[in-house]
């Protein structure tokens, strides 16, 4: 009797389709990803039923940490540079090209404006280690926060104000910021919250 030969099948699979799918997904994720900026402070935002998505551009961002420290950031790098020029003029600080570039890429910061040059001269990984003291908001700081609001809005008229506070931030700190904004005739602002349903 002849032996029944079992034909050997190759274990190789055609990977082309799988590869296509993988790269299609990859492309999708690459295009949709917006990287989260390294956070200066950890902020746990409260939730609300508000449904308005945060605008994509022209944002002036204020963050308030649980301990009341306040941080400031603009989303557009050109506006940042224009703002810096105004600050240099007003506060008489000296910055070289490297420090200017460091400011251009600074997402969020909170300190006395006069200490900015010293902070900017450090390397970026060194900067991340430093505990920033928060913006000067009281009158001894010459109401620096009001200057920031004024100058930024003069440089970019379409700026919207977004406020991101921690759940546990005391109302006092938030109220100070609102007052500074209102002193600069800003009466409309957005509070950043995460979504939830009304039933919760």
């Amino acid at each position: 009797m002849p032996k029944v030969k079992i034909p050997r099948k190759s274990t190789a699979i055609d990977m082309t389709a799988m590869c296509d799918v993988a790269f299609l997904l990859l492309t999708f994720f690459i295009l949709t990803t917006k990287f989260r900026a390294a956070e200066v402070v950890q902020i746990d935002i409260p939730s609300s039923t508000a449904q308005i998505p945060i605008p994509d551009k022209d944002i002036m961002m204020f963050n308030i940490a649980p301990d009341g420290r306040m941080f400031f950031g603009l989303d557009d790098q050109n506006t940042r540079l224009k703002l810096l020029d105004r600050l240099i003029e007003k506060y008489g600080i000296q910055l070289d090209a490297k420090q200017r570039d460091a400011f251009r890429t600074l997402e969020l910061w909170g300190m006395d404006i006069r200490t900015l040059p010293q902070f900017l001269s450090k390397e970026s990984n060194e900067r991340a280690q430093i505990l920033q003291p928060g913006l000067k908001i009281d009158t001894t700081g010459g109401a620096q926060i009001e200057d920031l609001i004024l100058f930024s809005r003069q440089e970019n008229n379409n700026l919207r104000i977004a406020i991101k506070c921690d759940k546990t931030t005391e109302y006092k700190a938030f109220d100070k910021l609102i007052e500074a904004l209102q002193n600069r005739k800003v009466n409309k602002f957005n509070l950043i919250t995460s979504a939830r349903t009304a039933k919760e």
Partner: protein
Amino acid sequence: MAEMNVPAGGGGKKGHKKARSKKMSTRVDLTAMVDLGFLLITFFMLATTFNKPKTMEVNKPAKEDDKKEEEPPIKMSKTLSLMLTSRDNVVYFVSPDDIDANTQIAMDSVDYSSSGLRKVIQRRQSEVKAQWGNQDDLFIMIKPLPKSKYKNIVDVLDEMNINSVKRYAILPPNDPIDSVIALKIGEVRK
């Protein structure tokens, strides 16, 4: 696992002289490429922030630099005052129209949940409707104490939204009645 890319026929031209150009397989082993693709997908999936945060729009009345015509004061019986305390609850009361030393104010405290504050607002809405004919006449005065949490104010503003309260304002707790209440619940007003 995967096939090895062994050169077919052991070295092309050498073996058979007749076949001038030995047909090479066009199949490339894609396993490694797929591996790489999925690795990158995993990375981007994890790095993506999916739920974009929402925003709650707040409009504050402009500070009166130029004194406008004073509006007639609101009837206190149309109002509800909410004082946000440092203990994650809210004290609610209806201020009387006139206060003197022996005014009694009914006040109570609730939490921010849907069974707490929301019930209070809805009850007050129906009271106002019964008395004035329109529940939108209700005016809610939100008075956050300095030690109250940011979350509380967001919760209260959210309740205004949920219960479609048309008229409300965030006010500093500066009325005489507020000091009485704050004293009673043992909170600092400034």
